[in-house]
């Protein structure tokens, strides 16, 4: 309990406390009396916040959607097909897991610089592509586990009931997979928002600055209480998303065949 308090609640409280201060100071009665919303007002005026917020939303939505779609098709091949290279594909999809985000970022940095005929370098798309590759390992793992749990007879029952393959997909397969798809989507959003390593390497300027980089830059420039304010808002948002994951994600217990 004490550990949980020290490790989780205390840093959060410290952050929140700092976000209400005019300048950084140790906790005291005077400090509490001097509480102000100045930092939050500052965020609303600081031009880069709006663009970083927009970039972040675009980036995480694109990343999460691409990761879910790609993991779905890769896992489908791995679990369901008899394709000769499916084991290799499985390994390939898992490989990025072994590569640190910064290293992956540098790799993509070079790739995007080299393929200059595609205007990817320096955009949020670059970050999305990098993240998609790095989250693919998690995506395919949980997708494969979930696919294995959707008993093949559930689809065969749809076929013998007269449903064509795409109808079976729409009416049986996708609804059963939905909790997993949503679960992975939110998981990727949560991670893509907070990880700074890869976006830092691919960062070019305001046009592809995301929130994690903005925090980094503002911290670097000494806006400590303002950073605390962004952090507090970000944490609250992510906390809500986490609760959502727990609510909708990974409810699989009812996909199993009846017990004997």
């Amino acid at each position: 309990m004490l550990y949980l308090f020290l490790a989780i609640v205390l840093p959060f409280l410290a952050f929140t406390y700092a976000s209400f201060l005019a300048f950084l100071q140790p906790p005291s009665l005077a400090a509490f009396k001097g509480f102000t919303l100045k930092n939050y007002r500052f965020l609303a005026q600081y031009g880069e916040v709006a663009s970083a917020l927009k970039n972040t939303v675009v980036m995480v939505v694109v990343t999460a959607t691409m990761t879910v779609a790609l993991s779905f098709f890769v896992s489908l091949v791995i679990v369901r097909s008899k394709f000769w290279g499916r084991k290799l594909l499985d390994q390939l999809a898992f490989m990025p897991h072994a590569i640190p985000g910064i290293v992956l970022g540098i790799a993509f940095f070079w790739v995007f610089l080299k393929i200059d005929f595609l205007p990817i370098y320096g955009t949020v798309w670059a970050i999305s592509i990098g993240f998609t590759v790095s989250f693919l390992s998690y995506g395919t793992r949980s997708m494969s586990a979930s696919l294995l749990q959707v008993h093949k007879e559930l689809e065969e029952a749809a076929y013998v009931s007269g449903a064509r393959p795409w109808r079976t997909m729409r009416r049986v397969f996708l609804p059963l997979m939905m909790p997993t798809l949503v679960g992975i989507w939110i998981w990727v959003v949560l991670h893509a928002v907070r990880i700074a390593g890869l976006p830092l390497i691919l960062y070019e300027g305001q046009q592809n600055q995301v929130l994690s980089i903005l925090i980094w830059n503002m911290w670097d420039e000494g806006y400590v209480p303002a950073v605390a304010a962004i952090g507090t808002l970000l944490m609250l948002t992510l906390l809500l998303l986490t609760l959502l994951v727990r609510y909708v994600g990974f409810r699989r217990q009812w996909i199993q065949p009846p017990s004997v």
């Binding site: 008899k82 008993h151 007879e153 559930l154 065969e156 029952a157 749809a158 076929y159 013998v160 009931s161 007269g162 449903a163 064509r164 109808r167 009416r171 049986v172 609804p175 059963l176 009812w254 996909i255 065949p257 009846p258 017990s259 004997v260």
Partner: protein, 377 residues
């Protein structure tokens, strides 16, 4: 052609392979079946005999290597002219061993699913009526709104059946539908299920490894072993006149006595004499047996009588010692040794037999069947 004369399900020279990690397996090796309209036909056999693969081929869930399959007059598979009608275009209903109830739909929607997927569009009221009718047939009225995962095993089984019959298919395929139920429920459901499909007049292909299900429910039983049908007949024929040791062994408890033909069968019943290690026995011999041929004599435990004293005219009396008695509730199983030969009999539970006692066994000649022992078992 007279439609009544043509079978509702016809399978001709069916061969099916399926792929495993270690290469293809020849699961079905030349099966011929002709099932008449309204018949309850059972494929019975141990696991891995190819019975489920045959059923799945009729459903269109497996692609056979060779052969032809007809459902009614429709050719649904033919290897020669490369016909393969996909499962969703075959006029069938099917119940899976796992029931395969869709957990994201409630009871009503599970049953309505096949109707909504039909080419013919039904009105809302028609769908409601048909679903209600199907649910009433399987006694699930009043549960229409329940989410499917909140059903008991027996209810799920009946839901799967309602889903299979709701669009009134000409053929019903049942893949071990009772194997996930507990013993008591299985017994009740056996009769209900047979009664229901007979009432609806649906031609039924049933797959099971349970001999009791096969004997009590079927019009015709086909025993399968290693991808082939080894014997086909009514339950009574299969039980009373097994033609192979595999069939005799698989159906019911049986005693086997090895022997040699002394004199070939005579008379209408074809009773001849066989020399066994335990003594001479009069048995029903298959046609064309010559003296000297090796045979296996098969007799059911319940056909053996324990007698106080030998009746000379009856013959077939052996002396044995009681090794063990097992009380089974409705019967007393008695294990005896006649010389080196072990014999099991089924007695009335109140029989005054004691362990270690020496008794006389009488084996009625018409219940002893000699089978050629040349066949590999």
């Amino acid at each position: 052609m007279d439609p009544a004369a043509v079978g509702m399900i016809r399978i001709k020279n069916l061969h099916v392979f399926y792929q495993t990690e270690r290469g293809p397996v020849h699961a079905v090796r030349g099966i011929d079946v002709d099932i008449q309209q309204g018949q309850f036909f059972t494929l019975l056999g141990p696991s891995g005999c190819g019975k489920t693969t045959t059923l799945r081929s009729v459903a269109g869930l497996e692609t056979p290597e060779q052969g032809q399959i007809f459902v009614g007059d429709d050719l649904v598979f033919s290897s020669t002219d490369k016909t393969f009608v996909p499962p969703y275009d075959r006029d069938i209903g099917m119940v899976f061993q796992s029931y395969a109830i869709w957990p994201h739909l409630n009871v009503f929607e599970n049953v309505a699913f096949p109707l909504r997927e039909m080419r013919r569009k039904f009105s809302r009221q028609q769908i409601r009526d048909k679903v209600a009718h199907a649910l009433a047939l399987v006694q699930l009225e009043g549960l229409a709104d329940r989410p499917a995962p909140f059903l008991s095993g027996g209810q799920q089984q009946r839901l799967a059946l309602a889903r299979a019959i709701v669009k009134e298919p000409r053929v019903l395929l049942l893949d071990e539908p009772l194997s996930n139920l507990d013993a008591k429920l299985r017994e009740e459901t056996r009769f209900e299920l047979r009664e229901l499909v007979k009432r609806l007049g649906i031609t039924t292909l049933y797959v099971t490894h349970d001999q009791l299900e096969a004997l009590t429910m079927s019009d015709t039983v086909a025993i399968m072993d290693q991808g082939r049908i080894v014997q086909q007949g009514t339950p009574v024929e299969i039980y009373q006149a097994p033609r192979e040791k595999f069939v005799a062994n698989f159906i019911g408890l049986t005693n086997f006595l090895e022997g040699q033909v002394n004199s070939a069968g005579t008379g209408v019943a074809g009773i001849g004499e066989v020399m066994t290690a335990s003594g001479k026995l009069h048995c029903v011999l298959p046609d064309g047996m010559a003296p000297g041929e090796k045979v296996i004599v098969v007799i059911r435990p319940e056909d053996i009588n324990i007698v106080a004293e030998a009746i000379p005219a009856a013959g077939n009396v052996l002396q044995g010692k009681v090794d063990a008695l097992i009380f089974m509730g409705d019967a007393l199983e008695c294990q005896l040794s006649v010389g080196a030969q072990k014999i099991r009999t089924k007695l009335h539970p109140a029989s005054p037999v004691r362990q270690g006692q020496t008794v006389l066994l009488q084996l009625p000649a018409e219940s002893c069947r000699a089978l050629r022992s040349s066949e590999k078992v």
